[in-house]
Every structure is written in C-alpha cells, then in structure tokens.
Symmetry: C2
C-alpha cells in the first residue's frame, strides 16, 4: 500500500509569502521531514509529526520520507524558498531513481514557492530584469573548477548571476574565489547585492560593487546577486536606491 509524498516550498520566510497551496499541503500531511529551521516555521496540530534532520543530509532525509510514504502514510518534505531550486525536490527524485521499485508507485507531488533570489530582487528593484542564472556555490556535489567555468561563462555572456549556498563554516573561501574569478570578466563597478532573510524581521540587504565587496559579510542564508554590465542604480533622495537590469540592451532613452 502506497501513500503520498509532497515536497513543499515554504517561501523565503515570511508567512505572508507562503502560498495557499503550500498551506493546504501542510494541513493534509501527517509526517514532516526537513531541516529543523524550516520545520520550526510550521504551525502543526498535535497529530502531526516533525522529523528533523541536519542540512547536508538531504539524500538520507529523502529516503526516510519515501520509506514512510511507501508504508502508506501522508508525508511532506519541506524546503525553504522553492523546493526545486537547490533544495529537496531533486534529492527526492534521486532517492526514487536509486531506490526500491515500490517507491516509484508513491504519489509524489511538488508545491512551488517563492525562491530566495526573487524575494531579494523584489526588495531592491528588478536586478533580474533580464537574462539571469542561478548557481549553487557549494562544491560538495560538483568540482570547484566546474563552478568557476560556469561563473565565467555566465558573466561573459551577460547574465545576471544569483548565487545560492555562497559560504559556510565548511566552505569559507569559495565566495571570495568566485568574486576573484568574476573580476577577471566584469568591471570593478559591477553591482553586487547581498540579501539575507528577505521579508523577515531580521532582513539584511547590502549593496556593494564587485571591486569592494567583502565575502565575509555573507553567511549560509545569504543570496548573492551579481549584476551584468547593464545593471544600474537609481539614486533617490530620501528613499532607498533602486537596482535594476533594463529589459533592453540599448541605452535607456532620456
């Protein structure tokens, strides 16, 4: 007897950014697997059960959740942001592909959410206003030289770049190296945004240039947006600066 498993995106953190679809999916599940800070966001009943695990344990968490679903239970795996962006949806698929045949008969669904780069972008204007890419800076699952090649390719081709997982205690030098790498293809004046906890009470947004940005000011929960050469700042007396990337490659008409 197969149960069901839903992978739920809880958005960037503010309850106001959780979709009704995600809220319903939470109400309908019984067992909740996830990284503890995401589970802590849930408002559960006494019948609902949290199964917390550490981050960097995505695959074993996915396996445990699938096992529970295969036993006929209503299971949810929760992610911050969107579960399809450097989060649990891919880990669940990996576990299904490598797992017992019975896991392929589980009713699996994914509930999308607002991912960090969109929430950070919204707080400062429209830095992702043109072609952009998202790169995870974690070299736990891919070699560092592939990351450098992707950074260089994306910056050279004119993409705005959003970096996820920029830095952690176990990966202290990668963000600085990424900036060095980008400095070889982008001007020092290129705009860089650090966005942390967008939409939450502890939100922190910083605007820098590539030439002067300090990687130490980022942490695990920071989303870093690096502009293209087109990305611009609009100064506004008495109001926060707006950062945006024009839709057009031609200069803005004045």
């Amino acid at each position: 007897m197969s149960g069901r498993l839903v992978v739920i995106g809880l958005g960037p953190g503010s309850p106001d950014q959780v979709t009704p679809e995600a809220r319903k999916a939470v109400a309908e599940a019984k067992f909740f697997f996830g990284y503890k800070p995401y589970l802590d966001r849930l408002d559960l009943t006494t019948e609902q059960v949290r199964v917390a695990s550490d981050n960097r344990e995505e695959l074993s968490r996915a396996q445990a959740a699938l096992e529970k679903a295969a036993a006929g239970e209503a299971v949810a795996v929760v992610s911050g942001g969107d579960p399809g962006v450097f989060a649990m949806a891919a880990a669940v698929c990996e576990a299904i592909e490598a797992g017992p045949a019975a896991w392929r008969d589980i009713d699996v669904s994914v509930v999308p959410g607002v991912t960090a780069m969109l929430a950070v972008a919204a707080r400062i204007g429209a830095p992702l206003g043109h072609d952009f890419c998202a790169i995870s800076l974690s070299d736990n699952l891919k070699p560092w030289d592939v990351i450098e090649q992707r950074l260089t390719a994306a910056a050279s081709a004119g993409f705005v770049i959003a970096l996820y997982n920029p830095i952690s205690k176990a990966r202290p030098w990668q963000l600085g190296r990424a900036f060095d790498c980008l400095c070889s293809v982008l001007p020092a004046e290129t705009i860089v945004v650090f966005g942390r906890a967008a939409g939450r009470p502890d939100e922190r947004i910083g605007i820098f240039t590539l030439g002067e940005v300090d990687p130490e000011q980022a942490d695990m929960a920071t989303c870093v947006i690096i502009g293209s050469v087109e990305t611009r700042a609009i100064e506004r007396p008495g109001r926060p600066v707006l950062i945006y990337t024009p839709r057009s490659l031609a200069p803005v008409s004045r």
Copy 2:
C-alpha cells in the same frame, strides 16, 4: 504629494499560488495597471479601477502608472508570475530613471511571486535541480545574435535553460532557431519540457527530446525548459514520468 506604486506578482495563474502578501497589496491599491488577462484575474471592489493595456506596451503602461502615483494615488501594476522576471518591475524602474524627478519620490515596492519556470518544474519533478538560467527569447529588445550567444554559452557550460516568451505571431521562427542552435552543443536525447498554464485548469505539459521537439506546439504562454546532459527521466509504471536534474555531477549511486 506622492502616492505609492506596488508592482505585484500574481503567480502562474492558480488563485492557490497567489501569496497572502500579493492579496493584501491588491486590497490596498485603487488603480490597477496591467495586461488585460492579468487584470481579469483580480477580484476587485466597485471602488477599484482597472486600466488595461496591450502587451508590448510595458514602458507606456509603467509611465501611466507612475503618473497616477505621482498624483497621490495608491497604484498597483500587476504581472503574472514574478514581476521581476521578464515582467513589469524592470519597466517601472526604466520609467523612473528616465522620467521626471518627482517620480523618484514615489514609494515603490515589489511583491514577488512564483514565476512560470518554478511552477512548470514542480509539475514534472525537479528539472531545475542544479544550476540553471532563464532567457527571454524575445528579440524585440535585444539582438538575436546575443540570444544565440547566451544559449550556446549556457548549454555549453551545463546550465539547464528556461525560455520565456518563446514564440508569438510576430516572432514565429525564433524558437526553432534556438533549438537548432542548442542542437549544435547538446545531444539529440536532451530532455525538453513545454509547460503551459501550470496549475490552471487548462494546463498542458509536454515532454520531448531536443532532436524531435516541434516548436509549433509552443505558444506565447509556454515556458520551455531544456535540460542539461545530466537531466534524467524516471519511468514509473502507472504514474507520470518524473524529470529531474541531479544535484550532483557524479552518477547517481545505485
């Protein structure tokens, strides 16, 4: 006297994917500027006013909205999906930068939403599970050769690619040309997904390979996702196939 202007992302289309934040922002505005199909989604009171405009009129729409806000009104500009992804937030910023100084004193904010590629990805698994990019295929605002360079750079570097604005009556050949261009760097078996109206009653999802995909099956509202060489399909007897891109570059352990 300056009013306020909020750029609101209404998500991919299902009311269940509109965030509470977006719903509140709609309730608090009086004048609504947007492309008619997005305005039609709103449930407004008799005091609230719709100002519809055609698509491809983004800049003049933004200007009209800013004028109204500068006159002291509570104005909303609505977008489908996320307003920062190939949508109205950048057009509003462009208009502010090029417009009268008074427009810089308007209280401008952006409410993020679930953008199309996330909604489409969620319906089929986790195709954006690793590094990915988003490219608008419209050559109204940038030269076609830049688009081809970006497609080639992204595919060669291993990014999954999401295409927005893939085709329209005025731009009938671009999607086919993009597939031709990608065929020169990606294998014919590369997975391609067409997702239209994800989460809505008229949803249509198609899964193809790059070698056999027919661009004519896409329309303006289709989001096209082109896998990387890592993107995989999991066949499931009696259930829909799952498409995903592993988090890791190494082969899945079995």
